[in-house]
Amino acid sequence: MISPRLLRRRIRSVESTAKITKAMEMIATAKMKRAQEQALAGRPYSDKIGQIISDLAIESERAGSLHPLLEKRDIKRIAIVHITTDRGLCGGLNANMNRLTANFILEQSVPVTLVAIGRKGRDFMMRYKHDVRAEFTKISDRPTLLETLPISHIIIDDYTSGYIDMVYLAYTQFITTMTQRPTLEPLLPVEPATIPKTETTEYIYEPDPVFVLGELLPRFVEMKVYHAIREAIASEQSARMVAMRNATDNANEVVSDLTLTLNKARQEMITKELLDITGGVEVLH
């Protein structure tokens, strides 16, 4: 039998753990709401810009000049923008993301270089001796586009200079509060979505389509990276909220189990004491 004193101590400790996880859950819930709104707020811009690019890509092909960011080359080196979180306690989120990227790297026959965003992913990739070309940590919970520009510019510069020939974007896609899906999708070269001919409009381009496309493509990449980071943040907060809720539930269960054991132990002790007393009284008689 465990002593009641030890049991009480255990209960107190688990109770305070539950309080902490409960607080973390509430923080994550508040942050999650904002992050989800933000992730959704960026969608009109991203849809729009993608549509214009499809329109323009046709035009520029007609003009016979191909923008460097559209150009497909022989792949000699791949880069992956790997987005994870800085902090833990968010369930399997980072583990899943790391696994997906790591498996992908193993399948490649050409060297892969990484741009790691978030401490968890960077540490993982360093530990397994992958080539980390750049790292970005301590991205705020509500990043501005400006904050993420250095990331997209590294990618664009490396791509234009020919150091890398293909870029993937690896991030945790936010689906619902309960589900977040690790995704790995191609970012560069930009693949214009094919749209049915009937939906295109004949535009006047000022000054000309090639110029407008040249301005638009880097924006598109910046926006994609920015959007992926915002999705990843929404996923992180949702995953943390769920993980912390489970932790709180677990802790409460442990507390009730322990309380039961404690009560049993106490009763047993009382019974034993009573037996002792009655035994003692009997001896006196």
Binding site: Q38, A41, G42, P44, Y45, S46, K48, I49, I52, D55, L56, T144, L145, T201, E202, Y203, I204, Y205, E206, P207, P209, F211, V212, E215, L216, R219, E222, M223, Y226, H227
Partner: protein
């Protein structure tokens, strides 16, 4: 009066969406006045002031570059950054202007020069828009 649908979107949020009468935007080839039933057009914007007129009321916004698309059904502006007059932080804009001017004094070369000039331009536009609003709100 005929109206056109105007939507202003940045990567971060939707700034503006309403039916308006006239839009004057700082196109790369010069100021661009848009009335309802304009032909489809696609152009880039340079940093400048955006004027919106609705029922005789004028609204100014600061844009720092972006794209303008005129479609048969609406006009869409994809801005890099866009602020309404009331959102402009005057002290911050003044601070940015001072910093940019200081940067220019050292006569930087190449990219640094262009960057300082662009920063100066952006802060001047913001200040001008904020100033307009102040003048309007004060009864003359």
């Amino acid at each position: 009066m005929a109206t056109l649908r105007l939507e202003i979107i940045t990567a971060e949020r939707q700034v503006f969406a309403d039916d308006v009468n006239v839009v004057v935007a700082p196109g790369i080839e010069g100021e661009l006045g848009i009335l309802p039933h304009h032909a489809p057009l696609m152009t880039t914007l340079k940093p400048g002031e955006l004027l919106i007129r609705k029922d005789g009321e004028e609204t100014y916004l600061a844009v720092s570059g972006g794209f303008l698309e005129i479609r048969p059904d609406k006009v869409i502006i994809l801005a890099d950054a866009c602020e309404r007059a009331e959102e402009i932080d005057i002290t911050r804009a003044e601070e940015a202007k001072r910093r940019a001017e200081e940067g220019l004094k050292t006569h930087p070369q190449g990219v640094d020069m262009a960057r300082a000039q662009a920063a100066l331009l952006r802060s001047l536009i913001r200040l001008r828009i904020a100033e307009r609003r102040r003048r309007k709100s004060r009864p003359s």
